[in-house]
């Protein structure tokens, strides 16, 4: 059962020319949407280094949204096409890494599509709420717990060992 109180955290990478402008338009139009998204502005979706995406997940993002110009409309001609190719592979990679691929979303949102920002952010927030938290930082902690024995403990085990050998 999804936890209705869970507030997913979405890191969004929006290109300056289309999607960031669309998000501005959504603001100017006073469209209301879920406050779960944090936008990082880049000049082009092509600047989205897959490291940024994995880094966002590893630091606690429950979802990552990339927004770029529609194919054919890229301000830099074909940056978004490179994003699309990387995105396709990243989805496969995430699947392999046990991360639901729906947590990564690529949307083409033109400067005029303010309402699409609203729709996508709301949709994604709901989707992530249904998926539940990814919570990688917490998982890292859990994973590390088994190796996190203190030096003192280690010394104790050494002492036991010595006694056994004696």
């Amino acid at each position: 059962m999804p936890d209705a109180a869970f507030q997913p955290r979405i890191v969004a990478f929006f290109c300056n020319w289309c999607t960031y402008t669309a998000a501005d338009l959504a603001g100017v139009s006073r469209f209301k949407y879920a406050p779960n998204v944090r936008v990082v502005r880049l000049m082009c979706s092509g600047r989205v280094d897959p490291q940024f995406i994995l880094s966002a997940f590893s630091q606690g993002a429950d979802g990552v949204l990339i927004g770029g110009c529609h194919i054919g409309d890229c301000h830099y001609s074909e940056g978004n096409l490179k994003t699309l190719r990387r995105f396709q592979m990243l989805r496969r990679l995430l699947r392999g890494l046990g991360i639901d691929e729906r947590r990564l979303r690529l949307e083409w949102i033109s400067a005029a599509e303010g309402d699409k920002v609203r729709v996508i952010v709301n949709e994604m927030t709901e989707q992530l709420r249904a998926l539940g938290p990814l919570g990688l930082p917490g998982r890292f902690e859990e994973w590390d717990r088994e190796a996190g024995r203190t030096e003192a403990e280690a010394a104790g085990s050494e002492a036991r060992e010595e006694a056994a050998h004696a």
Partner: protein
Amino acid sequence: MNAGAGTEIRTGFYICHCGQNIAGVVDCPAVAEYVARLPSVVVSRDYKYMCSDPGQELIKQDIREHNLNRIVVASCSPLLHEHTFRHAVEAGGLNPFLFQMVNIREHDSWVHTDHAAATEKAKALAYAAVRRVRFHTALETKRVSVHPDVLVVGGGIAGIHASLTLANAGKKVFLVEREPSIGGHMAKFDKTFPTLDCAACILTPKMSAVGAHENITLWSYSEVVKVEGYVGNYQVTVKRKPRYVNEELCIGCQECIRACVYKEAKFPDEFNVGMGKRKPIYIPFPQAVPQVVVIDPARCLQVKSGKCKQTCVEACADRRAIDFTQREELVQIKVGNIIVTTGFKLFDAKRIPQYGYGVYPNVVTSIELERLVTSSGPTGGELLLRDGRTPQSVAFILCVGSRDYRTNRWCSRTCCMHSMKLAQLVREHTGADVTVFYLDIRAPGKGCEEFYDKSLKDGIQFVRGRVAEVTDWAVTPEEEGKLVIRAEDTLAGLVRRIPVDMIVLAVGMEPQSDAQDLRRLFNMSCGTEGWFLEKHPKLAPVSTFTDGVFIAGCCQGPKDIPDSIAQAGAAAAEAMALIDRGYIEQEPNTAYVVEEDCSGCKSCIPICPYTAITFDEAKAKACINPALCKGCGTCVAACPSGSIRQHLFEDEEIMSEIEGVLSHA
């Protein structure tokens, strides 16, 4: 003027209330208080209007008094005020790029209703910016010279006016028009509202001036096919279609037209929207500029089959202006600025079948009526029904293809006035009863409400209501043989049937059918409706998101002649501002290769759409030409060894931003 590496980071943070725009939703003092406790933050303030003079003064003063070396402002979108604050930072004595802006209005207070969540979001974004700005370094803007020539695309009234304004200021202009003559829609009009002055009388001198101006190169019957480069330095390829007539040699005597083997004009004539006839060799209309005939390749026997007596060539005699060997030609030019004035197309009335356009011969569009009442039109200005009778009653239907969710939602802005003008002309020409069916009369322009008043006094009937249909079936004897309009009269509160002889559909404006192609060609955006998108609806109405590309006239949205001309003048002025300064400052967000890190793997080279990256064989390193780099950063993301970096968008800057938005709980 800049804090070098190693110096202590001292950040000033400012959050703007923007009146109630931000403060109404985001708890600004709480954000300021939160940021004040962050490492490296020396000053943290909230203020009513950061963009105001006192707001900017605050930043300058703090830089001096607190020895700040990083500034973060949380306010509106950087697309709106980044420049403002960078200037303030610079005026305060700091490099303007040691600054980061946080968008908490468009991306926060305006789009969220939950005050607590919006405040938390503002904190997270502020935190991210404070972290990010630590990595900012002093940068210099790059200056690029501006080529002084201008390309104007589209020779309607907007393009004509922009070209003349520039040319009169001594700038060289290339005016490219797709049709054989400039003039656009306005050339087809009889009179113009609200002054009823003759359109030809005011347009023709301007058209001739274009044709004669030494600073204007007019390429009619031509299209722009390729645009490369960037503001100040565009390389444009223009396709010149063969008109089979040498423009230099033709004097427009039209002997060739008379001599054509087709004795009768039998092909529909574009200028008269298909209602008149022309020959395969023709001149679009008497006042055409250039005054040069053109041969229609789809109709001319010689072009089509190569088998014609070529009586036209004979008639041209020793001028030898007719040249069947002409071929399509591609010409390249260099310009610094481009003004796009490609206009609109009229709504196709057949899309609303219930209005009977194309079914009932006496249902015409407004532009057809325009040609029918013009003395240069197919009937010599006599307004007749298709059967030759003079109409006794004429009705106008407004908002055909406008203000209707089934077709186009926008108001085409000119149809009310245009229809009233035509209504007056109809009364003048025929004395017919005129009824105008309207939704709302929109007459906000100068002299327009008075014109409406005059229309009422002239006895034109106005019925408020959307027309349901136009039919030819009669219920009463008076309706027999007439066209019947069924409409709700919303003021009288009843459904009316009104029989008339002629119906005029005031068709609205639509984006050109190839607007999407043009948009891509010039790297512009379109709104959802398909009109070219201006950079800012109020503050930058003729600029686009691509620097050095301006828009004017109806390609940006429906408007009347005065507004088109005003925009054209504004676009010309914007272009001149760039030309006269002589250079443009480019955002220093270019990518660069750190040479000692580069392995020479060449992965980046095919990534760049601008061929800004080359491979230096001698050094075996990649090399980015900053003049060609436009700063997209795609190669930065692609460099597999992290050896390409991007000013303003360094990996550490973005990574710290990501970390920032996520680590604020």
